[in-house]
Amino acid sequence: MQFRYDPVHEELALVVRRFLDETSTDAEVRDAMGSALGWDAATVKRLAGELGAFGLAVPAEHGGAGSGVTELGIVLREAGRALLCAPLLSAALGSALLLDVGTAAPEGLVARIAAGDAIVALATRATSSARQTEQGWRLAGSHEWVLDGHVADSFVVSATTEQRPALFLVDANDAGVSREPIETVDGTRRFVSVRLDDAAATVLADAGDAKAAVARSHDLALILLAAEQVGIAERCLAMATDYAKTREQFGRPIGQFQAVKHKLASVVLEVEAASAAVMYAAWIADHDTENVAEVARIAAYQANEASTLATSENIQIHGGIGATWEHPAHLYLRRATINRQLFGDPQAHLERLAKLIEERV
């Protein structure tokens, strides 16, 4: 662990937070959850346009702001705090993966993602099988839980070609593509299961390149989700703290009780450790491509722990009211639950880390 010298990006966080305070209130989140699209189109347009949030880490030549993972992490953290319903994570991951494969990506696609004009969804956790025909590549297989796949323009798909892994781009409107919405525990995000039935595809990366690009994409996803988890945890900590200051029982605010104080102090500890780990992981991702896998998993694990604790204790401190459908507490817990699983089980992160230590000693 090294000393960092980057200035803290408080300004960026403030701008995003002010925007979301207006556009991602509890009422708006619930509206978005109930909508067919899953988010408010006008808000998403402003997010991409005014704030440039979708192209934050995209280089200027592709129409982005040219910032890095640190800045993306700051925005995702705010998104977590506000339970933002928007295809933000997809934009970040889609553009990064297309940039990673370089000229194999269709020209202008990254710029369209950055502008909020296209959604490229990842179907890289499962693997289809690919075969070459006279008309080009054809993919078959099924991919569960594809984030934002319901309105994606295209999919990045992992598939094997004669046992070698490769990465493909598939047009969502191809006749061989069918998608079915699935209901998860979290209503603030949209998932579909995608079935490919001889869908036409173009190669983005082959063999080793594909594997490495997917691994990098998943590392990035872990860091960004960890940032969201920290935002969720921070918000739940704030909600619980505010409630503890005002809710009275036994003739005084419950925040005067040592049991409540210590519970909240424990949440502070988890949040602080997770926040530090996420900032560190983002910094490494921006400066050192070699050790990202390890720090991404550290950040993911810590942030998952923090968000699990904070979302649960928020409910406990709110008591009965916190366990109702009407109260937002459960929405945070639900989103945190999906975030934990979206790019791998926490136990898998822990085991991978432990193996890394074993190899080192």
């Binding site: 029982q249 036994f250 049991a259 649960s312 406990q316 008591g319 009965g320 459908w325 109260h327 699983q341």
Partner: protein, 383 residues
């Protein structure tokens, strides 16, 4: 009035268990085996048919005094009933928990009410709500405000209750309300038995984070309740409540433990074997067995008429820990399925997991229970 004296199994628990075991295995009850319905009201309605069948075959009459239509025996008969229902793959739902909590206090403190009403409850024809908590009186029950003012032969009840389990479908409410001054705290409380169809009663279901409407909020606007509907004496409400909480905390713990053991086995069947899984399932199992080993003794004491008092908080806390241990194991070990899948089995795990979250909240938060143990079992100085 059905029976006039104790039934044959009142003093023979092993024989009761054997006979019940045979009865519950019969095809007559197959319709209810493995049932789980998303909608709570619908589920209780459906299960009431099962309760009735068991009652009409006399097995559901044990643990109730003959004066209330029962066949005698004690809470150990209930404990046996819970175990055997679970073994037979039959459901234990809301009416069982409510009966566990309310039947003994009514029988003891209001035999006249028990004589008239308890049989219908025990038979599954109806169930009663427990009106204790209020918006401003959750863990701090003694600060409750719902008032009952004596006016002639009636109490006139005004106020609000919150978190009433299955209150929206209940026919009556066992209501803890203030008959003294607000400052009187626990001294100025009385317990009333109230019909939910009386004028001035309004009850609305509350949807929980799980999506299930298990609770209700109740509004009382000058509801006239005859004074003979007192449970215990006027001003004795806290004592009745404390008596009641022994059952709510300890016997209910036995009931849930029976269910949880079955759920843990169900989980073990679907989770792939492995060291981590074994460790987590093993720990949950130990938590459950620790609870049962404790609970068997508490239930025995209650059955013998002993006062368990503050020690019942230990049963409740052990239940909370075991409940969360089982469902945390489910959440972790079912992992992606738990988060992403919407098939009925997974939806059930999810809903039950949400319920487990509330185990440390309802009926006096875990923090309050720990305080009770510290203050009243260990006699630490009041803070």
């Amino acid at each position: 009035m059905a029976a006039v004296r104790n039934g044959p199994y009142a003093d023979d628990l092993p024989a009761y268990r054997d006979a019940l075991h045979r009865f519950l295995g019969a095809s007559e009850l197959d319709a209810w085996r493995g049932c789980y319905i998303d909608d709570v009201a619908e589920e209780m309605q459906f299960v009431s048919g099962m309760v009735r069948t068991i009652y009409d075959a006399d097995f559901g009459k044990y643990g109730f005094p003959v004066e209330a239509g029962g066949l005698g025996g004690d809470v150990r008969h209930w404990a046996v009933m819970y175990d055997e229902l679970v073994v037979a793959g039959l459901p234990l739902t809301g009416q069982h928990s409510l009966l566990t909590t309310l039947a003994q206090p009514i029988a003891r403190y209001a035999p006249h009410i028990a004589a008239t009403y308890l049989a219908a409850f025990a038979r599954g024809d109806e169930w009663w709500g427990q009106g204790f908590s209020e918006p401003e009186a959750g863990s701090d029950l003694a600060s409750l405000r719902c008032r009952a003012v004596l006016d002639g032969d009636d109490y006139v009840v005004s106020g609000q209750k919150l978190w009433t389990s299955h209150g929206a479908t209940a026919t009556h409410t066992v209501l803890l309300c203030r008959t003294g001054t607000t400052e009187s705290r626990h001294k100025g409380l009385s317990m009333l038995f109230l019909d939910n169809d009386m004028p001035g009663v309004e009850i609305r279901p509350i949807y929980l984070a799980s999506g299930r409407a298990e609770l209700a909020e109740c509004f009382f606007d000058e509801v006239r309740v005859p004074a003979d509907r007192l449970i215990g004496e006027a001003g004795q409400g806290w004592a009745v409540a404390m008596y009641l909480l022994q059952f709510e905390r300890a016997v209910y713990a036995w009931q849930r433990a029976a269910v949880l053991l079955e759920r843990l086995e169900a989980l073990t069947r679907v989770v792939p074997s492995g060291d981590l899984a074994r460790r987590q399932l093993g720990t949950a199992y130990l938590d459950l067995i620790g609870l049962r080993a404790r609970s068997v003794e508490t239930v025995r004491r209650l059955a013998a008429g002993e006062t368990v008092g503050p020690e019942a908080s230990a049963d409740k806390l052990l239940l909370g820990a075991a409940e969360q241990s089982v469902y945390e194991a489910a959440r972790c070990l079912l992992g992606e399925q738990f988060a992403f899948s919407s098939d009925p089995a997974m939806r059930r795990w999810g809903q039950e997991w949400w319920f487990s979250r509330t185990t440390t909240i309802y009926g006096g938060a875990a923090e309050v229970q720990r305080g009770i143990i510290a203050d009243r079992v260990l006699n630490l100085p009041k803070g």
